[in-house]
C-alpha cells in the first residue's frame, strides 16, 4: 500500500512525456514533411520561393483529384488501379470532342466527365453487384480504358486543338490557376463530406465492417458503387486538366499516376484494409510526394535516380507511420 503514494507523481511525469510523444506520433507525417521541406530549402535557393510553391501546387492538382477519389475507394477496403487510364481515355474523349466541336468549351468538359463517370460506374457495378474483387476489376479497366484511349486517337495524340481548350488549365482565379482552385475546393469539400455527412460516415462504416454496417441499415452496394463512380469522375476531370495544360490529347497521359495516388493515400495514414484514413492525410501525402518531385528536380537529380529515391521515401514514410502507430498503441 505505501508504494502507491509515489504513483501519482510518477504517473503525471510519464503522462506529460507521453502527451508530447503522442503528439509527435500522431502527426509524424507532418514532421517528416517539415524535415523534407527544410532539407530542400537548405540545399536549393530556388525551393522556398513563392513561384516554386505555385509550381508544386500546379503539379499536385491532377494528382490531388485522383488521390481523393482513391481515398474514398481505399476507405471502403477497395482499390482503384484504373484511374491513370481513365484520365487518358477522358482526356482523349475531351480532345476529340474539342477538335470536332470547334470553339465550344462545354462539350469537351461533358465528354471528359461522362467518360470518367462511365468507366467508374462500370468498376462500381462489377465490384458492388457482381462481387468481383476490386483489384481484378480495376486492373481490367486499366487495360481496357488505356486501349480505348489509343482507339480514340487512332494510336496517335490529338493535336491542333483550338486555343480555348487551354482555358481549363490556365484560367486564373484569385491569382491561382483553375486546377489548383479545383484541388483546394475538392479537398475542403471532401473533407467536409467525410467528416460531417451521412455519406461519409457510411463509407467509413462499410470499410470498417461491411456486415455490421448492413445490419445497421447501410445499403452497402450503393455506397460501394458510388465511390468508384466518384473516383472515375475525378479521374475524368484530372485528365481534362492535364490535356488542357498542353492543349493536346495524349493516349499515354496519366500512365502510372494511379501508383502515386495510392502512395499518397497510404502515406496519409489510410489502411488498405479499409475503414481508416482521412482526406487531410491524403492531402499531406500528396504534398509530400510532390515536394520530393519538385525538390529533386531543383537539385538536378537525374530522373531515374529520382524514381529510386522516391521509392525509398515512400516505404520509409509508411514504415515510420507503422512504427509510430505501434508505439501509440502500446
Amino acid at each position: 500500500m505505501n508504494t502507491t503514494a509515489t504513483a501519482p507523481a510518477a504517473l503525471q511525469r510519464s503522462n506529460w512525456k507521453e502527451l508530447a510523444g503522442n503528439f509527435l506520433v500522431r502527426h509524424i507525417m507532418v514532421v517528416v514533411m517539415l524535415l523534407i521541406v527544410a532539407f530542400f530549402a537548405y540545399r536549393s535557393a530556388r525551393f522556398a520561393t513563392p513561384d516554386n510553391l505555385t509550381n508544386i501546387l500546379i503539379a499536385a492538382a491532377p494528382f490531388a483529384l485522383i488521390a481523393l477519389g482513391q481515398t474514398l475507394v481505399i476507405l471502403t477496403g477497395g482499390i482503384d488501379l484504373s484511374v491513370g487510364s481513365v484520365m487518358a481515355v477522358s482526356a482523349m474523349a475531351a480532345a476529340w470532342t474539342a477538335k470536332n466541336a470547334g470553339d465550344n468549351l462545354l462539350l469537351p468538359l461533358v465528354a471528359a466527365v461522362v467518360a470518367g463517370i462511365l468507366a467508374g460506374s462500370i468498376n462500381g457495378f462489377i465490384v458492388s453487384q457482381l462481387g468481383v474483387p476490386p483489384f481484378i476489376t480495376t486492373l481490367g479497366m486499366l487495360t481496357l480504358a488505356s486501349g480505348f484511349a489509343y482507339v480514340i486517337g487512332d494510336g496517335a495524340p490529338i493535336n491542333g486543338l483550338p486555343a480555348s481548350f487551354g482555358l481549363f488549365a490556365n484560367t486564373q482565379v484569385l491569382g491561382l490557376t483553375l486546377p489548383v482552385v479545383l484541388m483546394i475546393v475538392a479537398i475542403l469539400g471532401l473533407a467536409f463530406v467525410m467528416k460531417r455527412t451521412n455519406y461519409g460516415l457510411r463509407v467509413y462504416a462499410i470499410g470498417g465492417n461491411r456486415l455490421a454496417a448492413e445490419i445497421a441499415g447501410v445499403r452497402s452496394r450503393r455506397i460501394l458503387f458510388s465511390v468508384y463512380a466518384i473516383s472515375g469522375l475525378l479521374a475524368g476531370l484530372s485528365g481534362l486538366m492535364l490535356a488542357s495544360r498542353v492543349i493536346t490529347g495524349a493516349p499515354n497521359l496519366g500512365q502510372g499516376y494511379e501508383l502515386d495516388a495510392i502512395a499518397a493515400v497510404v502515406i496519409g495514414g489510410a489502411s488498405l484494409m479499409g475503414g481508416r484514413g482521412t482526406v487531410w492525410g491524403t492531402a499531406i501525402g500528396l504534398l509530400l510526394i510532390q515536394t520530393i518531385n519538385n525538390g529533386l528536380d531543383l537539385l538536378l537529380v537525374p530522373a531515374y535516380w529520382q524514381s529510386v529515391i522516391k521509392g525509398v521515401i515512400i516505404v520509409a514514410a509508411v514504415g515510420v507511420d507503422v512504427w509510430a502507430a505501434r508505439r501509440g498503441r502500446r
Binding site: T3, T4, A7, L11, S14, N15, E18, N22, R196, T197, N198, Y199, L201, R202, Y204, A205, G207, G208, N209, L211, A212, A213, E214, I215, A216, G217, V218, R219, G275, R276, G328, R329, R330
Partner: protein
C-alpha cells in the same frame, strides 16, 4: 502474501514466480505490483472481469511483454522479458485465446513445427512424425487422425492439440488464456480432464476465466485481479463462489437477475409459417408487448438463423414477419429499422460493432436520419442523444470519441445495444446478449433488458446460457434442427426439472415430463 510452501511444509521452489509486476499502456496503469507464484503440480485460476489485466499478466509471464517494473522467475531463473523464445526454453508455454495453429497444415505438421524430425538425408521424416503424433494424441484421449487438416477440426480439439504441442516440448508451466471462451460445453469437460492429468505430471497451470463453474471444475487455487490489482489469492477450498464474485467486481452482487414484471396482451411481433431454408419446419412465433421470449437450443439448432430471418439479414425460404400490424420486407434490415425493430447480433466483433469507429459514430449509424438534415450530420444532436443513452447504459469510456477497439467486451456490447435506444424500439432481437461480457456488465445488461420490456418492448432473446433463459424470459421456445420443438411458460420455467426438460427437447431425446404440458 502467497506462500511457497506445499501442504507438507517442505520448501518448494516455485515453477513461476512473479514479483511486483507493474505495467501500463499509454500512461494508463494496467497492472499494479502483482506478486504471486505457481507451484509444480497445481492448477491456478486467474479470475477477473474483462479489462482487469489478466491477459496482460499472461503475456508478461510468458515473456511477450516487458513489464515496466518487477521480475518473472522460472524455477529460480530470471526470465528475459520481451523474449518469447527464452521463455520457451525455460519451459513456459502459452496457449493464447486466439489459437496460433496453422489451419491449412495437418495436425502432425502443426505438432512438429519448428522441431521437425529429419531423415539421415536431411529431408522430413513424415512417417516418424505421424507415428509419434498419433501416440501423443492417444495419450490425451484423442482418436483424431494426425493427417487431418487443422481447419477441419473443432476449436476445442485444436486447442487440445496446442496444449499437446506445448507440453511435449517440455513445458513445465502452461498458461491458458481464456481456454473455454470458444469451445462447447462437452469439450470443457475434456479440457478439465487434460488439465488434471497434466497437473498430476507436475506441470504448473495457470488459466484465465470469468466463469465460476470452470474455476470450481479445474482449479486448486484462485487468484483474483481487479483493475490491475491482485485482490485475492486463496486456495479454492477457502473461498465461496460469492466471495470470488465479490472480489472480482468489488461489490456485492445482490441479484444478478432483476424481477420480471408481467407481460402485456397485445401482440407486437408475429412470425407466420417462416421456413428458414427449404425442407425445414415452418415456425410460428408471437411476442406480446412487454414480453421476453427466450430461444433455447443447442448450437446449430437455428436460433441465430431465425433471428436473422426476422430482422432481414437472411432471406427466409418462405413465411412472413409482422411487426405492429405491418408486414416486414424480407431481407431488408433498413426496412426493419424503419419499423422500429432492433437487433443485437451474436457475433459482436463481426456483425455488431465497427471497431475502427468511435462510440459516437457507431451509435449514430442505425438512426442516422434522426441526426442529420439534408444528409449533413448535426454533431449537437448526435452528442446530446447519444451521451444520454450511454449514460443510462452506464457505459465506461473516456468519451464518445473513443474508438470501440479500445473498449472492453462488455462496454462494446453496451454500445451495440444502446445505439438503438436513441429512438423508438417496438421489438428487440437479442442473440447471446451477454457472450464475452463480464459479470458486472452482465447484470447491467439484464437490468436494461428488463427495463425495456417493462416499458412495453417485445423482446426475443436467443441464449445458450441456461440461467438467462430461466430467469429472464416470460416464455421460452426450444429449437432443434431449424424448427421449434417445445414451448415452456413461466410456470414451467420455474419448475425444478426444467433444465432437464429443455435439454431433452433440445437434444431430441424423448421428453417424458412435457407430454401433457405442450400446447
Amino acid at each position: 502474501m502467497s506462500t511457497v510452501r506445499s501442504d507438507d511444509s517442505n520448501q518448494v521452489v516455485p515453477m513461476l514466480e512473479c514479483s511486483g509486476i507493474t505495467m501500463s499502456f499509454g500512461g494508463i496503469p494496467v497492472l499494479r505490483g502483482i506478486t504471486f507464484s505457481l507451484e509444480p503440480g497445481t492448477v491456478t485460476a486467474l479470475a477477473g472481469e474483462n479489462g482487469a489485466g489478466k491477459s496482460t499478466l499472461m503475456k508478461i509471464a510468458s515473456g511477450q511483454y516487458r513489464p515496466i517494473d518487477g521480475t518473472v522467475q522460472v524455477r529460480g531463473q530470471d526470465l528475459v522479458s520481451g523474449n518469447t523464445q527464452a521463455a520457451y526454453e525455460l519451459g513456459v508455454a502459452i496457449v493464447p485465446q486466439e489459437l496460433a495453429s496453422i489451419p491449412e497444415m495437418m495436425v502432425y505438421e502443426n505438432l512438429f513445427i519448428g522441431r521437425e524430425v529429419k531423415t539421415r538425408l536431411g529431408t522430413l521424416d513424415r512417417a516418424a512424425m505421424v507415428k509419434a503424433a498419433k501416440g501423443y494424441l492417444q495419450e490425451f484421449g484423442l482418436g483424431t487422425d494426425p493427417k487431418t487438416r487443422m481447419r477441419e477440426l473443432p476449436v476445442g480439439i485444436r486447442q487440445i492439440i496446442e496444449i499437446i504441442k506445448a507440453t511435449h516440448r517440455g513445458a513445465r508451466v502452461l498458461l491458458l488464456d481464456e481456454p473455454t471462451s470458444a469451445i462447447a460445453e462437452r469439450e470443457v469437460a475434456r479440457l478439465a480432464t487434460i488439465v488434471r492429468s497434466l497437473r498430476d505430471q507436475g506441470v504448473a497451470i495457470l488459466f484465465t476465466t470469468h466463469k465460476m463453474e470452470e474455476i470450481r471444475a479445474m482449479a486448486d487455487r484462485v487468484v483474483v485481479l481487479r483493475d490491475g490489482t491482485l485482490v485475492s489469492d486463496t486456495p479454492l477450498a477457502d473461498i465461496s463462489d460469492d466471495g470470488i464474485v465479490t472480489a472480482m467486481i468489488g461489490r456485492e452482487l445482490d441479484q444478478l437477475f432483476p424481477e420480471r414484471p408481467d407481460a402485456g396482451n397485445d401482440i407486437v411481433l408475429e412470425v407466420k409459417d417462416l421456413v428458414i431454408a427449404a425442407g425445414a419446419t415452418p415456425i410460428n412465433v408471437t411476442v406480446r408487448k412487454g414480453e421476453i421470449l427466450g430461444l433455447a437450443g443447442l448450437v446449430g439448432a437455428g436460433r441465430t438463423e431465425l433471428i436473422e430471418c426476422i430482422y432481414g439479414i437472411r432471406k427466409p425460404h418462405s413465411g412472413t414477419v409482422t411487426l405492429s400490424g405491418s408486414v416486414l420486407k424480407a431481407g431488408s434490415p433498413r426496412d426493419s429499422i424503419a419499423r422500429n425493430l432492433a437487433i443485437v447480433p451474436e457475433d459482436r466483433k463481426g456483425a455488431g460493432a465497427i471497431l475502427s469507429m468511435s462510440i459516437l459514430d457507431n451509435a449514430t449509424l442505425p438512426r442516422i436520419a434522426a441526426f442529420s438534415r439534408f444528409g449533413v450530420l448535426s454533431r449537437r444532436k448526435q452528442r446530446s442523444a447519444i451521451s444520454e443513452v450511454m449514460k443510462s447504459m452506464r457505459l465506461k469510456s473516456s468519451g464518445l470519441d473513443q474508438h470501440l477497439e479500445n473498449l472492453s467486451g462488455g462496454n462494446q456490447q453496451k454500445v451495440v445495444f444502446g445505439r438503438w435506444l436513441t429512438g423508438q424500439v417496438d421489438a428487440l432481437l437479442l442473440d447471446e446478449p451477454t457472450r464475452g461480457v463480464d459479470v458486472g456488465a452482465r447484470s447491467e445488461i439484464y437490468r436494461i433488458i428488463t427495463e425495456l420490456s417493462a416499458a412495453g418492448m417485445a423482446v426475443i432473446m436467443a441464449s445458450s446460457d441456461m440461467p438467462e433463459i430461466l430467469s429472464l424470459s416470460h416464455r421460452a421456445l426450444i429449437m432443434r434442427e431449424t424448427g421449434v420443438v417445445g414451448e415452456l411458460d413461466r410456470e414451467q420455467l420455474d419448475s425444478p426439472d426444467v433444465q432437464d426438460t429443455i435439454f431433452r427437447l433440445a437434444s431430441g431425446l424423448r421428453a417424458e415430463p412435457l407430454k401433457d404440458n405442450t400446447p
